[in-house]
Symmetry: C2
């Protein structure tokens, strides 16, 4: 077969877009040698055409419609971000039957089913590897390598900003505010970090990954989401003393026919591979009925890792692999039934509770009685000798208990006159069992 | 598109084959829901047809030729192992244009280029995900997810038997012989463990992975291979004291246009994710120019993990994805030029040397002089107070040095009258640099 030249249109030439242009230009020979494809960047579109882009070999312009409509433009890369202009241009490309490659998890989280249906209707397809966990090819693994596995659980560190902040809080003993400021200085956090630290970014990625893993439609509102913005450094220290590391985990788990979906700061045992995922790295643990535990680790963000995933998608589209998978597999958000969700109150988990208790007799008796009444049994208690002050922190870890029972118990505990509310409540993850029952 | 029924022939129904029949039978609905495919097991062939196979829903027979030739047989799974009968039947299937799925790394290592060429000639293809690192979809990642990356290094723990033995030597303080006996008892090592403990199994897998990663033909004889069978427990303890864990690593690394290929016991720093890979688990670290460091972790052997990879390959063949990739990508052993190998003597590495030195003045001066003459500079020295006996172990770690220089120095050192030969020599791996120069 003769070498094929494929015209590529790039919409959005910011950090990631700059990485994409670099790979397409610098790795042209490598890509041609591996695939026989010549990927020709024919349009680079950005609303900012004033900023110089050193190294870019073609002129930049701002007319996205013209670029999309150009008959030479065979694949459209959307790196604009957000859900407004991006949605409009993706829509336009798909209606013309042009495959779209995107890193835009917000767009897929908000309008995934609709866009996938539109792509299908027009014989186009969507490549979205870069939307979750940056350069880590975990979407590819779910679609192909793990396709013979019934997935039992997916547990990920999928937000590099939060992981950077949590790693620094632990290693440097910093407060959340200090670590956030450092993350912003180092370029790992946006000026407005709300999407990251609130857990929303992780929830959007979880919706995409869980849809592919469990073959049910998962959307952001289905996900119980807590961020790291209220996390206190004292809890990171106590966790460490107990043998745990606190990570923001995105968790999707199968409970018979039901699925639980959640994002929250979680105590991970230090022997778990996820505990070692440091700084801005990401990792996704997947538990399949045949493979057992598998984990994919790498850079979840950043210019070149994400750009590498985008260009891989472009290549797989151009080779015809993505269009074929898109037309054959029945796992995409427009094809699967809505998730049958386990109500969050019914979740079974172990818990970490950190109370501020008045240093006087009888307080722990009251607390343990409230927990006992709700069938919450204690696993460990940790209290250091009080130095001064009326209130001392007391940490309690529990055996498996119902989320609803724990929340109700906390309401009661926080009304005790000897307790200074609010009691900190975090969940502890026990690694999902490998090879669990069907 | 209506659901498609695909006839599957399984050759070899041992442990892995049993797992494949289980998945095909038990996950029939899941596979149909995800892919639209009905995978029908139509022949199960084994030379042993006497052993009962509970749960198998079709009769077993021993006529491989008949099974392969059956026109209903659309995909042939080869799980016979070895290079004799397996080669004959794979050859037969490919000549009939039938895609083959195999877990047989020995066969691919011995006859890969020839079989891939044969497949190409007859419009067939070969799925071989299960041949390396069992259930971990790392071949899929190299072929698709990482396709836009120039790969700079691949470092893997790819033999579960060796990793089980090394983990037990470290955690239980066992000798090699004790740990091997335990591995055999636990079913993690064969009665004849030579393929595993000699490093040959790992070398065969490295040949396959390195070919895909670097797009050059790598064969087992190209690989400098040392096993774990001469490893002493004292070195595991010294390594631990220095902050390292000893792992059998398979390493392929790019040095400009040249490639180095090697399998040997290696000191891995305890902060490296590979140091945490315990028991029979496998992991492969890949360093790409865009993604930086990424790691794939999971079970590298065992019935269900390997069977899951085999069935995934069957699905990807049946969907047309593997045939398309096989015809489009130019990365297979029959298509790529032979590797331009870095001579092993020219390798640069850090080294761990453990000498047995007579406890008398002047010995270390002689040793360090020999090292210094060959431009081998010391990084650390570790010697405990001698209790009794004339010879005491002295551990030296070096900065980067040439393999050839180190071997020459050792020859000289081992001839010193104050040294009891042979000096133990292990390599220390520094994690390959992320984002290294082109």
């Amino acid at each position: 077969m003769p070498d094929q030249s494929i015209g590529i249109t790039l919409l959005g030439c910011g950090v990631i877009g700059g990485g994409v242009t670099r790979i397409l230009q610098e790795q042209r020979d490598l890509i041609r040698a591996r695939t026989g494809l010549t990927l020709d960047l024919i349009h680079v579109v950005d609303k900012d055409i004033a900023t110089p882009r050193p190294g870019l070999q073609i002129p930049i312009h701002s007319d996205a419609d013209k670029a999309i409509d150009d008959p030479r433009s065979k694949i459209v890369i959307e790196l604009i971000g957000g859900t407004d202009a991006a949605a409009k241009f993706v829509d336009r490309a798909l209606r013309l039957g042009k495959p779209v490659v995107t890193a835009n998890k917000s767009l897929l989280a908000a309008r995934g089913p609709e866009l996938f249906a539109l792509a299908r209707q027009h014989n186009a397809c969507i490549g979205f590897e870069a939307s979750c966990a940056g350069g880590i090819p975990v979407i590819n693994a779910l679609m192909h390598g793990l396709v013979a596995n019934r997935i039992d659980a997916l547990v990920g560190i999928v937000n590099g900003t939060c992981n950077f902040i949590l790693t620094r809080m632990k290693s440097h003993g910093w407060s959340y505010a200090q670590a956030l400021a450092e993350a912003q200085k180092a370029g790992f956090a946006e000026a407005n970090p709300a999407m990251d630290v609130s857990g929303r970014d992780a929830a959007q990625k979880l919706a995409i990954l869980a849809t592919l893993a469990f073959n049910v439609r998962c959307a952001e509102p289905d996900i119980h989401t807590e961020g790291i913005d209220k996390l206190q450094d004292i809890d990171i220290k106590f966790a460490e003393e107990l043998g745990y590391v606190i990570k923001l985990l995105a968790i999707a788990q199968r409970h018979g026919p039901k699925i639980s979906l959640r994002v929250h700061p979680t105590l991970v045992h230090r022997d778990d591979m996820l505990a070692d995922v440091a700084g801005s790295f990401n990792a996704v643990s997947i538990y399949g009925h045949a493979i057992g535990h598998t984990l994919f680790y790498g850079r979840g963000a950043g210019q070149m890792p994400t750009a590498g995933a985008v260009v891989a998608d472009v290549i797989n589209v151009a080779l015809g692999l993505t269009p074929l998978a898109f037309s054959q597999l029945k796992i995409f958000p427009d094809q699967v039934p809505p998730a049958d969700l386990l109500p969050h109150q019914e979740l079974l988990s172990r818990y970490y509770l950190r109370l501020l208790a008045r240093d006087e007799p009888g307080v722990m008796a009251q607390v343990t009685q409230i927990l006992g009444q709700r069938k919450i049994s204690l696993s460990a208690i940790l209290q250091h000798e009080a130095k001064d002050g009326q209130f001392v922190p007391v940490v309690i870890t529990t055996h498996q208990a119902r989320e609803g029972s724990v929340q109700a118990a906390l309401q009661e505990i926080d009304h005790l006159p000897s307790i200074q509310a609010p009691t900190a409540c975090l969940r502890i993850i026990d690694p999902p069992k490998e090879f669990s029952a069907p």
